[in-house]
Amino acid sequence: MRLASMSLKNLNRRRLRAFLCILGVALAACSIVTVGASTSRYIRVMVEMNTFFNGDLIVVAKDVVVIQGFPIGGVIPQTVVNKVAEIEGVEKAVPMLFNFNFKPGKVSTVLPVNVSIGLPLDEWHMIIGSSTFKSGNLPKNDSINQVVVGSSIADQYGITAGSKLSLRGCLLVVSGVFNSPSAVLERSIIMSLKLAQEVYNYPMQINMVIVEPEAGISQRVVKNEIESKIYGVMALTDDERNDLTRPFINTLENWNLTMQGTLLVLSVVLIAVVGMLNVSERRRDFATLDAIGAPSSYIFSIVIIENLLIGVFGGILGILLGCLTTVFLASFYTTIPVNLFLLDVFGLVPPFYMLEIFFMIVGACCVGGIIPALNATRVRIAETLKSEY
């Protein structure tokens, strides 16, 4: 306690330098949190997209870009569904129209991260099986203009069950608002396939078929069958979908790690330089401590605790700044209002991640303090005090 209090007072003595040092550490922590949380969020969303059709094949137009479970563009005729269903080894084939970017009427402009999903009403459980309804329910049948909306979009635009929604000139009725653990679904409007084709002007067209193989039949066998018998499509297994995005995810993760590593090293260097400067200025204090009989461990601890305090203050400040920056960045790139992200700040920057960064920063500061602390213990009493006279 005395050591901590002494270290705190030492920092307070050189307030401006300590503040700048804390700010430097905080900026490093902020950058690590922002880059890490944003990257992790995108990776999480991408990984999550593949969990929808686990064990199933997806059939999409040949050479289309597929991010995990979902194709970006690339349409195929709806008749492909029947052809796929007839192939030996196929248990079920479900058509789906998946679309990025929509304009919810007068309310907003382009929302690039929002999606709309159209699929037959009796197959909606494939998508929202694990979701719970916040209000309302599923539409009653396939023919009416009813949709269900993810709660993130609903919260943003004040949509509840019964609300009317204008999408690309079509008037839709919201039959329910659902909560989902999936970030993609939280930003989704789900409707019948027919309605989606009408809204997006894809008559008798879809962009993917979800194929469930019969029990005991491997995805690979069904894939080969589909690709050999149906022209212009490709069937992707779980592994292939993962393989498509793995390099991208790996690159992101590596970039994130490199960034974190670099910032941590910079923090260590900053702390070490400032620490050396502090020790050099306080040689007389350390020599006096030594002269009155303080053990080396005591002198070492003073410097390390000062660095630890810088790490603690810098870490806390940096994480707070990092959370805010992450929220603002997420809002900037999605047009979702900041307040919605603020409510879910722990979703964007998980508490465990905050703790991880906090301990990393504090650890880096302590490591940065080792050399100055060792220098402090090596101060020679006689020479130092003599030179002060």
Partner: protein, 223 residues
């Protein structure tokens, strides 16, 4: 504590030149003595005190403390002696600027492992004894030179050392304050039976000493 220096020599080397700061000094300090070492600036007074106070190692020669060769002791053992058996008063006080008077005095007690209550009681008692009862929560920059030196004396006496070593304790003080400090050192020597070794130019200190030594060019002689 019985201190004996035998052929004590300290040589500083700067490049190719060497400075003999202490030159084959022989000295015996018995328990309860008040020894004063006088000499011009740069004559080796501080170096000799640092050697006796175990703040530095001699180039050659030995220092015996109660018959034990202190030059052969480990760093830890030397630190323990500095902490518990020797009190050091510096010319420039060397108080810790971030700590108040009370905390400065408590520090050696804390290092010696005394409880919080013991530290507080002893520090207050010491500060009262040096006439600073009303200044205990003041930081060094809020104290006068004389007050700072008195805090330094209280700190040096914290663990009730057998030897008090003072390097020019009145060097930075005006004559009135110097007289008070001399009085304090003399009182510590008389009442607490502590051995006092002082390096000084101050004639007032010379007058209360039991032995006076002169050091010139590192060579010590009894006056």
């Amino acid at each position: 504590m019985f201190i004996k220096a035998v052929n004590l020599t300290k040589i500083y080397r700067k490049g190719s030149s060497k400075i003999v700061a202490v030159n084959r000094v022989n000295l015996e300090v018995k328990n309860g003595e008040f020894i004063v070492i006088v000499g011009p600036s740069g004559s080796g007074k501080t170096t000799l005190l640092n050697l006796i106070g175990l703040n530095d190692y001699p180039t050659s020669g030995k220092i015996f403390i109660d018959g034990v060769d202190a030059t052969m002791l480990s760093k830890r053992e030397r630190r323990k002696i500095r902490l518990l058996r020797i009190g050091f008063i510096f010319q420039t006080f060397n108080l810790f600027p971030t700590l108040n008077a009370l905390e400065n005095v408590e520090l050696p007690l804390a290092l010696a492992g005394k409880s919080q209550m013991e530290q507080r009681e002893r520090a207050i008692k010491l500060l009262k004894s040096v006439g600073l009862a009303d200044r205990i929560f003041h930081r060094p920059r809020e104290l006068s030179m004389g007050e700072m030196q008195r805090v330094a004396i209280a700190r040096a006496m914290a663990n009730n050392p057998e030897v008090l070593i003072a390097d020019e304790p009145t060097g930075e003080l005006d004559s009135e304050t110097s007289r008070e400090v001399v009085g304090l050192l003399s009182e510590i020597n008389r009442k607490q039976k502590a051995t006092v070794i002082v390096a000084t130019h101050d004639e007032r200190i010379v007058r209360v000493a039991s032995s006076v030594y002169r050091i010139v060019d590192g060579k010590l002689s009894l006056e």
